[in-house]
Subunit: 584 residues, 2 copies
Amino acid sequence: MYRSHTCGELREEHIENNITLSGWVHKTRDKGFVVWIDLRDRFGITQLIFDEERTSKELLEQARSLGREFVIQIKGTVLERASKNANIPTGNIEVLVQELTILNESKTPPFTIEDDTDGGEDIRMKYRYLDIRRNIVKNNLIFRSKVSMEVRKYLSDGGFIEVETPYLIKSTPEGARDFVVPSRMNEGQFYALPQSPQTFKQLLMVGGMDKYFQIVKCFRDEDLRADRQPEFTQIDCEMAFVEQEDILNAFEGLTKHLLKEIKGIDISSFPRMTYDAAMAKYGNDKPDIRFGMEFGELNAVAKHKEFNVFNSAELVVGIAIPGAATYTRKEIDKLIDWVRRPQVGAKGMVYVKCNEDGTFKSSVDKFYDQEDLANWAKVTGAKAGDLICMLSGDTNATRAQLSALRMEMAERLNLRNPEEFAPLWVIDFPLLELDEETGNYHAMHHPFTSPKPGQLELLDTNPGAVKANAYDLVLNGNEIGGGSIRIHDKETQATMFKHLGFSPEEAKAQFGFLMDAFQYGAPPHGGIAFGLDRLVSILGGQETIRDFIAFPKNNSGRDVMIDAPAPIDKEQLKELRLQLNLES
Amino acid sequence: MYRSHTCGELREEHIENNITLSGWVHKTRDKGFVVWIDLRDRFGITQLIFDEERTSKELLEQARSLGREFVIQIKGTVLERASKNANIPTGNIEVLVQELTILNESKTPPFTIEDDTDGGEDIRMKYRYLDIRRNIVKNNLIFRSKVSMEVRKYLSDGGFIEVETPYLIKSTPEGARDFVVPSRMNEGQFYALPQSPQTFKQLLMVGGMDKYFQIVKCFRDEDLRADRQPEFTQIDCEMAFVEQEDILNAFEGLTKHLLKEIKGIDISSFPRMTYDAAMAKYGNDKPDIRFGMEFGELNAVAKHKEFNVFNSAELVVGIAIPGAATYTRKEIDKLIDWVRRPQVGAKGMVYVKCNEDGTFKSSVDKFYDQEDLANWAKVTGAKAGDLICMLSGDTNATRAQLSALRMEMAERLNLRNPEEFAPLWVIDFPLLELDEETGNYHAMHHPFTSPKPGQLELLDTNPGAVKANAYDLVLNGNEIGGGSIRIHDKETQATMFKHLGFSPEEAKAQFGFLMDAFQYGAPPHGGIAFGLDRLVSILGGQETIRDFIAFPKNNSGRDVMIDAPAPIDKEQLKELRLQLNLES
């Protein structure tokens, strides 16, 4: 038996007990006549004491010889601690050691195992197994495990069945790139790893499973933007005999449960906003509503003077930045430089200082009088002391630019409190999205998303205006879940495929088995999928998903710890009937 | 709202209620003046009634027009049923329909959606989504979900953390063949899909996670024997600071919990048997101990006469088949033919009938007298009325043959009761296994399995005799779990690699990152992995794992429903820098 207690367990009630502990040497303090060692395991830290009076010379020497991260077992007696440490749960006791066994030695780790480590990201990823010993990473993984378990409990209790869908499936040319897996038994053929279990969950609905969920790995072979992973985890859900309202209620329930169980936060009901409203008010389909700075559309009050920049613009729009009227000319110039960065892309910015005395000072005083500026303040909700920032141009681009500025200012003003949680349903997404390059429409969500009732006819006349039974759940400015009510009848599906530019043959080749299935009594159904990595990181009050993944990959899709991917044997390639073609 | 209740929910207390149901038309009975429809969903079946007195003519006609598996919604009133059906929970009521909406039509399904279907395996697999509508498959999937949930609850409550390990890892030439995944971003390089998260769970122990588990898909590109799947699910577990006894206790606890929660069966403690004893008593390292027929070793009492077959054999061994003394000559000849089949491989069989009058009649009466035969009966535990079957030859082969006969006779005599559960720990496995072709030893479990204390020295002199800290959990003759205490110090690991024929360079190339990790304070650790597919099928009282997998693959590794694997685009191959080489 390696231990009678963990290193986080001993309290005053254990005083005088003889105990056995095992763990890592976290820290040693040697005062000459006395040596203290902090012994660490997953559960906590216990202070060990060796001293000249009560410890044999040999044992004291042995204690002194221990290096950082050595694994040891000790037997000893629990004593009351002279100078108590209120910061740790075991801080009232210490253990006088009678016996010490080195279970394993350790080389000096390449970085310190501390909350505030001296190791950079690269070295910590290479030695991720040491990084995991750090409280912060360890606690993130425990937190993730807890969130997953709560999701499973809630959904199981609600009658959802977790069904495992296959990982070795079929490649479809649609959407993002698949990872493929050559088959040895079926020469020249390939499996694909699922980008999501979408078709399988719909088949389960055809199969009458009624309420399905799965926490499942998904795979996308995309060029990785920062904080994307080639493999990621989804909470995948689908329900039969439901309308949009049923889905929103069910998964609002799940999210409330998580906020309550995990964070102790009660939210009575989640606000809802249409996609159009979100774009108009926040320039963004996943608005962070923890803070204001809502957009004021200024066309009506800004296009009546000689200022050509505004007059020629499709949209003039502004936000009021709280307390920023005191910005110096230099600070404002910096802000203008910021919005003109290529990543943001604005051509310029008009500003209005709302002075404390009720007057206004703007960069366009030449064109507009105090009454105009007062109107702008009214529309943007600016108060005395605020700075109004205005952008203008094409509607979509301008909104995106102002959204970027809004988020940047929220960061600078510390308005994005990670311990505040503001969920929001965004509903009524457009069904189709125009591909600006090809001029074709494609499905915004996926080709099985149903249009809103009565809008099917619009497909012929104004496809971009058709709204879908599609919804996203947004939390603190992040899309944490999204889904739709699916098309379940074959006429609507055929109409959709036509508008997406699929010939019946192409549709059959690509989605044949699902369309076949739909001929045998598919029930009305719909679902949602949550990104677990993102959900967990936001609930954890952080925004980097990598910190909540045990063994993440870097931006080149590499696992630097195990050094994967890697070349494989010629023999292996030969068995798979493959040849590398690196020249072309 | 598609339904106010499910089809399994209505009882007498709902009589007179107006309700809405949705589901599939399971069966229609048309008696002319009255039409009954069984409406089905996941939760049950509710009888709908339409009749000339109370139903409009149009509605009655509509009801008559419905085909099997049409999806409908009805509104109606709950009535007491005239002739009650005690076989279903809703059998006391029926619903008089006032309104009927066809939600979706259905082609006639290719097989009947009944427990006793007319569809063969092939057609059911092609239309698996319809097969899932059948009670038997649906209930298997629900059962699997429940088992997984109970595993998670038990382990979470016990302080285990579920950690997701990566699916895109690195290929290792050891063991079974990996499925590989070409990387587009890292040209000419491949990921591999994990055969198990073995190294990652050991790294998590080095990382101090202490108690880890994961229910996880694993992949093996092996030629598929019947009832093997290229992707399968494992309950993967690892603990730090443990000895074998700790692991056996922890996972005996889990298995007891499952037997209790899922099957309502209490088993106080699991018997344990060494590998050597299992081989001697049952000829098998996963003995089914639900029934007797233990081996009797007969060398001592059978090698003293002129019968050369026995005298020249390394082993003479027999079992007593209960009640088989009445077998005719013809029946016994058939049994001898059975053991001589190439799949079994015995050269012949000696038998002894233990007559009810206390006399014996054997096929070797020429050589042995009644006293000899009485001794054999004693050793094999044969009683009056039993038939002793004896095989002889090389120890290993003979044991395997007799084990096959024992299992066959248990099947024939109906001794393998699927509702009886007999768990067994098999312990003290050999560390190494001789590869008869190459004459080399390789790790029986895997190269990180630790030898039993004090046996390391034997590696040089008698490697085949070294026992390991390795254990299997056997349930009803199936290995449902297996694991070991790992080597955690580098000297032992180096010795092991040497004996497995790895040069230090080879060991480094293959297991480098794990060996590196072990230099930074690896704790003593060990673990176990359960095959979930197998565990669930045995708990479900069945032996075919395919019946407990939503979308299984066939023996050629194909998913016949989605028709995968399949060829991929030339473009896709080009992006992956691959070329097919089907000629060679």
